[in-house]
Amino acid sequence: MLKNRLIHFITVAVVFLLSCTGAEKHSGFKVALLSPGPISDAGWNASAWEGLQRIKSELNAHVSQVETRVPAEFEASFREYGRMGYDLVFGHGFEFQDAAATVAQDFPETVFITTSGNTVRKNVAPMVFQLEQATYLAGALAALMSKTGRIGGVGGIKIPPVQSTFAAFEAGARAVRPDIKVSFVYIGNWENVGAARQAALALIDQGCDLLIHNADAAAAGVFQAAAERNIYVFGTNKDQNTIEPEHVLASCVSDIPGAFVTMAKIVRDKKFAAKIYRLGMRDGIVSLVINPRLADRIPASARERLVSLEQRILSGALNVPGLP
């Protein structure tokens, strides 16, 4: 009995193998995404996935995605998409640079774009977000709103991309109020909500009455502290205005899905150039989003000041310091 069943199993398996047909060919614009983590993370990877879906619907492109969990997979997945004739492949993170540069030589018809990074080749470019433009405006707004003349920020790990957003925040504050006191604290990680809360409370105890953060998930602690002591804070990276609706005055937002669509359009229209794509307010990718519930708490004079600074950034008259 058992052996008959075994033979049957084997036959079925062999038939499966023999009955296999070649994969069908696709036509049109083809875009792929390598995400470093699960697209269900409601954060970094989810925003890339959203961008890919928008490319699919807005540009009517064929899209594909893989989750690359191991460094060895970066190059392998880039190469597979190159072999399949994809027009554009995104690697969502700085860690994809080396693999993109290596594979790109063999697939001159495919454009490889990494989210952040600094490696540029004939068909490789990073896109970086000029979030500093938004934190500059946030700094100006903070200085205009502060009663104590002291503002501050809580950072995750002290790395250049975080430091530059804080440098711009400080520059924005000084531009409207040269005597403003600005202090920053780094908690040394991206997760410790308790440490971020303590750091924020310490800054508030020192007299800071407006805070910014760039601490990823740990920022929840900054929002808690702001609610406890009834001060205003700024969100960063995405719209966080609803997290503490009575305390988050505004958010410095990078529209990552929008950036994916922007880059895909550039590649589709054959306008790709080998350079670092710096996406900012002029591209509509970076913005300071005021919390609509708190908008009326901002004095008209401060609002005017903000609008004029924004205009100067958009026109190119004002170069925000610390930009990548």
Binding site: K3, I10, F16, C20, A23, P36, V66, D98, I157
Partner: protein
């Protein structure tokens, strides 16, 4: 002299069973996928083409299995000595860190010196990482399951500190080390493919470990310590000494995997260097039934399943979670079919099939 033909014949039933369980696993996968609404034929084509469709993909599957061979061997040697080493991951990272440090610090060295120096540094670091756990076990009777898991976490944190601090790239932009010099890279085996010399090192390591465990007295005693410590002690085997030896070996083996991954694939150090090879390695070692040579096909199976899973995502848009399920299912069924009761029945059935075949290649006994 070792009679390889005889060894092969002896291994034939094990290989036959392995192949059979694989086929059964695939048949069940077919059921699941059809139920989930996928065309099983297309799915299988993608699975096989993705893992072994051409030279490049075979090379990739083998490439993916290399770190699993080293960590798998590390698990084999420690389990054989009766030590539940859950720390191959930490030992892997220790090797990667130490080897990369050497490569970046003495970046002017010639390749003939560079690679050996990196490997020695990796061995020392990995053996040290293994030694900490076994030392605490031998001296303080602290269960090595706990210490090795803790040491994994410590290694991960040290790696994070290194790439954000002392070993961070000169440009200072991203949490990664600078690229190691060309002299520190393992050569590729075939032009145009990524499969590198680490594959050969992996095979050699498996053979050496097999020799040590099954052809030398030292290996016999090591296995005795694991198999029956009381009897071993009665036979005047110094238990502690062999436990320490096993963990030093395990650490060095896993560490070799770490430095081979940096030297052969990534060229740099960064945080997510290991997705948990040390844990997958336990499954690899168990499927190989703690046999060093068995680790090779077991690791290749896992490597191939990984490349196949990516192909499912890429070509069919299958969710990575579903790809994981397919992968886990294959592993689970293979383990299930290896349980003694089922194995005996299978063996009897197989013997029946073989008896009816005109070509009696299965005569082994």
């Amino acid at each position: 002299m070792i009679d390889f033909r005889k060894a092969l014949l002896r291994a034939a039933p094990a290989l036959g069973r392995g192949a059979l369980s694989f086929v059964v696993a695939l048949a069940l996968v077919a059921l699941l996928t059809t139920w989930a609404g996928y065309d099983a034929g297309v799915l299988f084509h993608t699975l096989f083409a993705g893992a072994a469709g051409d030279g490049y993909r075979i090379s990739e599957s083998l490439l993916r299995s290399i770190p699993l061979v080293f960590t798998g061997l590390a698990v084999v040697v420690s389990f054989r000595a009766g030590l539940w080493n859950i720390g191959a991951d930490g030992q892997f990272l220790a090797g990667a860190m130490a080897g990369t440090f050497v490569a970046l610090h003495w970046n002017g060295m010639a390749q003939v010196l560079m690679l050996p120096a990196m490997f020695v540094a990796a061995w020392v670091a990995g053996a040290f990482w293994g030694w900490i756990a076994v030392w605490i076990r031998v001296r303080r009777e602290v269960n090595e399951v706990i210490t090795t898991i803790m040491l994994n976490l410590i290694a991960v944190q040290i790696l994070a500190w290194l790439v954000h601090g002392p070993l961070q790239e000169q440009a200072g932009a991203y949490p990664q080390s600078d690229a190691v010099p060309a002299a520190a890279r393992l050569p590729v085996l075939f032009a145009g493919l990524r499969l590198h010399a680490g594959a050969i090192i992996a095979v050699v390591a498996a053979l050496l470990l097999w020799l040590l465990l099954f052809r030398f007295a030292i290996g016999l005693r090591l296995r005795a310590v694991g198999h029956n410590p009381r009897a071993a002690r009665f036979a005047r085997v110094a238990l502690e000494r062999y436990r320490i030896l096993a963990m030093l070996l395990a650490g060095a083996l896993a560490a070799t995997g770490g430095i081979v991954e940096v030297s052969g694939v990534t060229g740099r150090l960064y945080e997510n260097l290991s997705p948990g090879y040390g844990f997958t390695a336990i499954a690899v070692a168990l499927i190989a039934r703690l046999h060093p040579i068995g680790v090779l096909p077991a690791a290749v199976l896992f490597g191939a399943l990984d490349t196949a899973a990516r192909a499912l995502e890429r070509d069919l848009g299958v969710s990575p979670v579903f790809a994981d399920i397919v992968q886990a299912q294959v592993i689970l069924i293979i383990i299930l079919l290896e349980t003694p009761a089922i194995r005996t029945r299978l063996q009897r059935a197989l013997a029946g099939v073989q008896a009816r075949m005109p070509f009696r290649g299965g005569e082994h006994a």
